[in-house]
Symmetry: C2
Subunit: 336 residues, 2 copies
DNA sequence: ATGAAAGCGCTAACAT
DNA sequence: ATGTTAGCGCTTTCAT
């Protein structure tokens, strides 16, 4: 029942030409007479022939497949990057395969099976510096790093301007009169957390506000950790009037804890998040946050990768995408 | 600089054996003497040889790649299915490539490029019945449908038990004494919406409650549509005491509208959603909903697909995964 | 404008 | 236990 599918030779036989001519036709070569082209097209139709992509890859040494390694596939930000990347890849005739990758070991395995086994023409790596993973990649292979600032390696990268985004957050709070500003960071092993923290500190310094160490608490991106951070902050000598949470989930957890403690938001505590996740405007009150176009970041990553794959000599590029402030209802001018 | 990578023939030459023996070694064949195996392994090491997956696919007529076509990659439910599917696939030595697919045209193109071009060994299709898309698939090709009940086609399928889930929702409300129960459905072109609606109606009938047509309003899964549904319901002759929203986003939109209208939830209106999306417990009040293990559904889909790919004669299976009730704070016993 | 020959890097089938 | 010979279905030379 495995009716073996027709090959270019079957088409050639039916059209009365060589298989090479068929190859020329399906590749749109110009040096084929209109008449034979028609005969071949006809034969392709009647046989229902479709070229075998694997055989093509084999002959060309190219797979027209990219891969994306992401900490996970479900976080909205990662999923958006991937979706943007797939869409861009498709417009260039590529497919994109994605795999979740949590640690160095699985990264090494994936690189082996994807890169060393020649399954892909290029790799998008989200959050490459979490651990030593980026060491597994040879500089010759087309790679684009997403979400991390360049560190001198000769790789392409696309990143959100985390530092600047954090600055926007702080300046918004300062503009509202806040001076007692705390922050909840992500794990400081993540580049984005470090960058947001640097931006936070720089903006505070710029505003002439001294940094209060007990107002910097580390979370793990989860809502729970934001919830716990509230209680950590509550133990400090003085309580802040505003908190910049490095992501929306932690901001939401913080809001919950504050509400349970009887604090009114934003009257008694201003909160600003980062990400503008779906439904951020549906929490109570609607969350002020920083919005980022992850879809666009994914598109840029794909575009850079394909450029690099098709022209390996191009020097690496570092693109930075700006975040922008979305003011909703969790921030308010400080009471004097 | 394109240092051409070593092939099995290079390894063979260095080890002083035939290339076929190398093939045997890398495939773990038993009929190789320990001594030659060691020599070959040694040669593989020194050359840094890794088998070319494409060449393998070519020779074996198998790609060890699956594909998943999903309406999008960002919705948490879809992303979870995909992540579950990737993980299961990886444990069987397969990769999974995913692509968003909104309409019949892009579906046809994708099937052509993935299936007809022999790029994949099998296909997972999420929500196959949205339009006529499923017609493009030949019954011989390994396919698993996710999220739709079987319709007599000879395909494998995995679906959430939407009908039963809706029944759980209604029974929960009935148990709390509600009889004035409205619903917000998804677009009734989606199977899951139809199924949830059928479950809703059946449970109402079973409880001896008559169905009030103006208490059935159609949304589009978005929070906005849930928000608007509130105002549609407000125009009905009588207002319900409880609403079953077919997904959490619509439930959240409804909550927002109800709050703005000064209705207290759950005292004056009980609301139950469906999905148990991330942070469902962080809304105000925390959302009562139905939880579903999409990750598991993805795993099952992959497993079925690989079984089918490796043993085409297996008869198709239809798996149903149960949803379960998560009671939080948006539902409450009706005031008498 | 077309064809013939030679691979791409591997596995399958049949030796020995 | 190992080697030899043919492919897999296409593209890339190089002829003509």
């Amino acid at each position: 029942m495995t009716t073996t599918r027709p090959t270019i030779r079957d088409v050639a036989r039916l059209a009365g030409v060589s298989h090479q001519t068929v190859s020329r036709v399906i590749n749109g070569a110009l040096l084929v007479s209109t008449e034979t082209r028609q005969r071949v097209d006809q034969a392709i139709q009647t046989l229902g022939f479709r070229p075998n992509a694997i055989a093509r890859s084999m002959a060309q040494g190219q797979t027209f497949t990219l891969a994306c390694l992401s900490p996970n596939l479900t976080d909205f930000t990662f999923a958006s990057i991937i979706e943007g990347a797939v869409n861009e890849a498709r417009t260039h005739g590529y497919f994109l395969l994605s795999a979740p990758c949590n640690d160095e070991d699985s990264f090494a395995t994936l690189v082996d099976e994807l890169v060393n086994s020649r399954r892909t023409d290029g790799l998008i790596v989200i959050n490459p510096y979490i651990d030593g993973r980026f060491h597994f990649l040879s500089p010759q292979f087309p790679v684009v790093y997403v979400g991390a600032p360049p560190r001198g390696e000769p790789f392409n990268s696309v990143a959100l301007d985390n530092r600047d985004g954090a600055g926007l957050a702080v300046r918004h709070l300062v503009d509202l009169g806040h001076t007692k500003i705390a922050t909840i960071t992500g794990p400081l092993t993540d580049d984005s957390a470090v960058e947001r923290d640097l931006g936070f500190r720089a903006a505070l310094v710029e505003a002439g506000i001294t940094i209060h160490p007990s107002w910097i608490v580390q979370g793990d991106w989860s809502a729970t950790s934001g919830y716990e951070a509230f209680h950590t902050l509550a133990q400090a000598a003085e309580f802040p009037s505003a908190v910049f949470a490095q992501n929306d989930r932690m901001a939401i957890g913080l809001m919950r804890a504050a509400a349970e403690a009887g604090l009114h938001i934003p009257d008694e505590l201003s909160i600003i998040g980062f990400d503008d996740m779906p439904l951020a405007s549906y929490f109570t009150p609607p969350l002020t946050t920083l919005s980022q176009d992850m879809w666009e970041i994914g598109r840029i990553a794909s575009r850079l990768l394909i450029q690099k794959a098709e022209n390996p000599l191009e020097p690496p590029t570092h693109t930075c995408v700006a975040a922008h402030l979305v003011i909703r209802a969790t921030t308010k001018a400080v009471k004097q």
